[in-house]
């Protein structure tokens, strides 16, 4: 079984989804999908252990050797991502039951869980596969699942949010596909490692360079890089709480992974940074994005929306790390991919608990929370501190590396931009904490959120602190992944 791990991660939700869709009621679909997500997590963790001992795990689908067949290639970068995706799914699914009963309803619950499994499957597939066209297929699977899930939100604006994301997502995927098409025409292969081997010889050609532009633009749309982020705030705000938690923690991160994979592995650093204006385009966008989105966060009355804009800002930090083009910057970016997944997953789940009790997530719903829902409130405080980057939380670990990477390059203006971004985060997190601590509760009789919501929330909060203190796992893997990527990644 151990040699089939790469495919098992993906296969478990794939086989489970139709079964779940055929079930009735809300309990059994929930039980089955939760168990499947835990199984996936187990596989992902074992896979990571395997990668740690071997460095690279290759799985050929159906025994067909690449480049004829499809192969899965797992190195440190995607092993880490797989753990993040399946880990978040394993926490969000147990959490989803109460939240879904209230926000989606029992009737549509089987479809909901099936779509959630498909989303997980799609994200895992994109991450695990070593084939460029396969990435597109999984991208479509995850996107279609996402459109469905967003549309299940209680607010009617969820429909327009979903439709808007559908159009933008499709354009992004199409751009990606066009780029892949160009590359196929030029090289005759779709295997990532194979592409990486053949491209250097022909990278002067304008077809390859056009392919690069299409692929980068398409992926930047999916990862919500400023100014291509406009689909994100509405999509996050109007989705059901559980969906926002999973999307916010993993979806854009997977797109980041695809960007990293293409920039560093397929096209290579020399091409991406030397011959293409990647740094020149990404750095200004990342910096403007992180400052602008953080500022917009401050003015948001709806906390869910505030966190959505904050996600756009965090993408700015991540892209900044990538655009530095150094091992240190890439380490910081990968760390923040993982750490921000933990932070935003936790925070959106806290908001789901607030939604469950208060019926909304506006600032007025958060008032006086310290007294009425202390466990929920302190979870938000710790998650918020992590978002700001206070020591002993995961947020500190990634910002530390990002600043170190910027200092290493002598980019002091970037250091200042990161600092201003942190200060803005202090403001937008601080005003929620202040309202919770000093505000008058709207309804003092409201009770603490049920344990079914609180336990998953606190598991993630605990992870925020644990990985903030014991950084051996995350930092070592991120460094190993960055080293691998700088050296060409999945190509041996």
């Amino acid at each position: 079984m151990l040699m089939h791990l790469p495919v098992l991660v993906v296969l478990a939700p794939l086989l489970g989804a139709p079964v779940v869709a055929l079930m009735r009621g809300s309990t059994w679909p929930w039980v089955l999908s939760t168990l499947l997500s835990w199984f996936s997590l187990l596989c992902a963790v074992l896979l990571l252990v395997q990668v740690q001992s071997q460095g690279l795990v290759i799985y050929t689908m159906g025994g067909w050797e690449a480049p004829w067949g499809i192969e899965y290639r797992i190195d440190f970068a995607n092993a880490l991502l797989l753990v993040l995706i399946t880990g978040l799914a394993s926490v969000v699914l147990p959490y989803a039951r109460l939240s879904v009963e209230q926000e989606v309803g029992t009737e549509r619950a089987p479809m909901f869980y099936a779509a959630l499994l498909l989303l997980t499957l799609g994200l895992c597939g994109i991450t695990a596969t070593g084939d460029a066209f396969n990435i597109f297929v999984f991208l479509e699977i995850s996107s279609l699942a996402t459109y469905t899930l967003i549309a299940m939100g209680r607010d009617r604006r969820a429909l327009t949010a979903s439709f808007s994301y559908l159009i933008m997502g499709t354009i992004g995927a199409t751009f990606y596909l066009i780029g892949i098409g160009f590359l196929y025409v030029m090289t005759g292969t779709l295997n990532l490692a194979d592409l990486a081997g053949r491209l250097p010889a022909i990278n002067e050609s304008s077809t390859v360079r056009t392919a690069f532009a299409f692929i980068v633009t398409g992926i930047c749309l999916k990862l919500a890089l400023f100014p291509l982020h406009l689909w994100l705030p509405n999509a996050y705000t109007y989705s059901p709480s559980a969906v926002t938690a999973l999307l916010g923690a993993t979806a854009t991160k997977v797109a980041v992974y695809v960007l990293v994979r293409f920039v560093f592995t397929v096209f290579g650093i020399d091409f991406s940074f030397g011959m293409e204006p990647l740094a020149e385009v990404l750095i200004p966008l990342a910096v403007i994005g992180l400052l602008s989105a953080s500022t917009v966060s401050i003015t948001q009355p709806n906390i869910k929306r505030m966190l959505a804009y904050s996600s756009v800002a965090q993408i700015g930090y991540i892209v900044l790390g990538i655009a530095m083009g150094t091992a240190m910057g890439l380490t910081a970016a990968l760390l923040h991919v993982f750490n921000h997944g933990l932070i935003k997953g936790a925070l959106f789940m806290v908001l789901g608990a607030v939604m469950y009790r208060m019926g909304g997530t506006s600032l007025s719903d958060m008032q006086g929370l310290a007294k009425t829902m202390p466990l929920t409130f302190w979870a938000f405080v710790i998650g918020g501190l992590s978002l700001i980057g206070v020591p002993l939380t995961v947020g500190f670990v990634s910002k530390w590396h990002l600043i170190l990477a910027a200092i290493e390059l002598g980019w002091w203006p970037i250091v200042i931009a990161i600092l201003v971004g942190s200060m803005l985060a202090v403001v937008y997190v601080g005003r929620v904490i202040e309202a919770g601590f000093f505000g008058e509760a709207k309804d003092p009789t409201r009770r603490e959120a049920p344990a079914g919501l609180l336990i998953p929330v606190w598991i993630l909060i605990f992870a925020n602190i644990y990985f903030g203190i014991d950084t051996r796992l995350t930092v070592d893997i991120a460094e190993a992944a960055a080293a691998q990527l700088m050296a060409g990644g999945i190509v041996r």
Binding site: I167, I171, L228, W231, V397, T471
Partner: protein
């Protein structure tokens, strides 16, 4: 093996969940356990842990570190005794965690672990301020948080810069030869309440609860002094900064009428003496600073305890409403007076045997002027704390206030610290042996006694001449915090507003050119906005195209 701070951290975590009766025990016994552990630690680097990709030194001991950790744990214990019947659960728990952070900083063996414990400490001190629970505490807590978080960020960049340049996180005397070390210094000085941000201390400390003020007086500024001792001994610039703090503290304390706020200014003044001592940097001076910090934490806490008792028992905090309390609350009056005498460096108190060491170290150094500054400073201290505070509150004109001495635990806490002030003062040999350097020094020489007594007499004469003026004095004091409370907040607001406008323009004019009016941006972002009309699909598409073209053309230009 584990960091000594962990004991108190566990205690702090247990307090909210423990049964009510066990809470005082946790509050008082965990610092005691810490104290025992501190004195059973060996020397040198004892514990490292992997963090990020470094091996950080969590516990490293030395004489200075051990002395600071001792006083921090002792302070936590006695103030726990003082506060446990009065404070809220949050305040108790946060106080203990705050003290634990300070103990952690004392033993931190490198810059990174120092920073970790440091921020831990600051975080919980913010909660202590907020636990005051009043509207004033809310505002002051936010200002305090912003000031110290900025200090923390500067400190962090300094540490990262030092690491990037030297490849080492070691705590050692640094030269002020690069941006990074300057940032490190500035970050530490902000926490020491150095100019121009001294005002945060007098803003935050009295806004906390009376018990919170006691806690807040001890840790933040003194850990900063410890960091200065270890990182920047002998930096000339510190003499100037410290001297400014001494003068600043005296002037504002003399002008202030709120007793707790006045004592908060006293902290700035006292830390000023220590900063000057670090700036002088000789072995005698460092010995003096360490001894003075040790003594200072005790008498400063004692003074704030007595002031807290006065505020709690009488409900009054203004000097003009207080007086003659020695009749109704003799224990508080005696303890408060001992504290005041100790701070004024009266012979036979701990302030004398430690404070004079700093002035003496200045005597042998070059240039000579700091010595006279320090002497004058000591006289000034006697003026505001010995005479203005102790005399006017406990003696002086009887205002006929009906108040009693406080509950037994508060009395016990004050008596313990008052006894410590006297004991350390009459037998300096007892604790001189623990000081970091072996420098022959005798406290009770004729010249020391004479100089000090002359100074005190002069100050006394000045006071009784000006007493009625000092008592009636009521002018609105404008402190430097005025600048950052008004101008700073204004600047920050304008900055944010500018960013908001810029992003507004960006989102309407640039990103979504279909709309023309900037106000629409707000409506669009508002939850009730006409979202259906403003779904930005079209304009996003435009941006996709722009980005594509930029990459395509950019590639040609490269």
């Amino acid at each position: 093996m584990f960091p000594p701070a962990l004991i108190m951290i566990v205690g702090a975590m247990l307090i909210p969940v423990a049964p009510v009766r066990l809470r005082p025990a946790l509050l008082i016994l965990t610092p005691l356990l810490t104290l025992l552990m501190i004195w059973n630690l060996g020397d040198g680097l004892l514990l490292t842990a992997p963090f990020l990709n470094y091996e950080i030194a969590l516990v490293e001991t030395s004489d200075v570190r051990r002395l600071f950790a001792t006083i921090f744990a002792l302070m936590a214990m006695v103030s726990g005794l003082y506060m446990f019947r009065h404070a809220r659960v949050v305040e108790m728990s946060a106080s203990l965690a705050y003290a634990a952070g300070a103990v952690g900083v004392s033993f931190a063996g490198d810059l990174l672990s120092l920073y970790l414990f440091w921020e831990f400490m600051v975080l919980f001190s913010i909660i202590v301020v907020w636990s005051g629970g009043t509207e004033q505490a809310r505002g002051a807590g936010i200002r305090y948080a912003i000031m110290l978080l900025i200090g923390g960020i500067i400190l962090k960049i300094g540490i990262e810069g030092v690491y990037a340049q030297t490849g080492s996180h070691d705590i050692q005397a640094l030269a002020l030869d690069s941006v990074a070390t300057w940032m490190l210094l500035v970050g530490v000085l902000i926490h020491a309440a150095a100019p121009p941000v001294s005002a945060w201390l007098a803003d935050a400390n009295p806004s906390a609860s009376p018990t919170g003020s006691v806690i807040l007086s001890a840790f933040t500024t003194k850990t900063a002094v410890l960091a200065l001792i270890m990182l920047f001994p002998g930096q000339q610039v510190l003499v100037w900064i410290g001297m400014y703090m001494i003068v600043y503290g005296i002037i504002y304390a003399l002008l202030e009428n709120d007793i707790r706020r006045m004592l908060a200014y006293a902290i700035v003044n006292q830390v000023g003496f220590m900063v000057v001592g670090v700036g002088i940097g000789t072995e005698l001076a460092i010995n003096g600073v360490v001894a003075f910090a040790f003594a200072h934490i005790i008498f400063q806490a004692l003074l704030l305890m007595s002031a807290g008792v006065v505020v709690i028992q009488t409900g009054k905090r203004n000097l003009r409403d207080l007086g003659g309390l020695y009749r109704s609350m003799p224990v508080t009056a005696i303890c408060g007076t001992i504290g005041a005498l100790a701070m004024s460096a009266f012979p036979l108190t701990s302030g004398f045997v430690s404070g004079v060491m700093i002035t003496e170290s200045a005597a042998s150094g070059e240039p000579a002027w700091p010595r006279y500054g320090l002497l004058a400073g000591m006289a000034g201290v006697f003026l505001f704390v010995g005479l203005k505070f102790a005399w006017l509150v406990f003696f002086g004109k009887d205002e006929g206030l009906q108040a009693k001495d406080p509950a037994w635990n508060m009395q016990a806490a004050m008596i313990i610290f008052a006894a410590a002030c006297v004991l350390l003062g009459i037998s300096p040999g007892l604790w001189y042996q623990f000081l970091p350097y072996e420098v022959p020094y005798a406290s009770y020489t004729v010249s020391h006694l004479l100089t000090q007594l002359v100074m005190l007499l002069l100050a006394g004469a000045v006071f009784f001449v000006c007493m009625s003026w000092l008592r009636r004095l009521s002018i609105r004091v404008i402190d430097t915090d005025f600048i950052y409370r008004r101008a700073g907040v204004q600047m920050w607001r304008s900055f944010v507003r500018l960013l908001v406008i810029l992003s507004g323009v960006l989102h309407t004019r640039v990103l979504d050119p279909g709309k023309r009016l900037p106000q629409l941006w707000i409506r669009y972002h508002g939850p009730e906005g006409p979202l259906a009309r403003t779904w930005p699909t079209g304009s996003m598409l435009l941006w996709v195209a722009v980005m594509l073209v930029v990459i395509l053309i950019g590639a040609r230009l490269l």
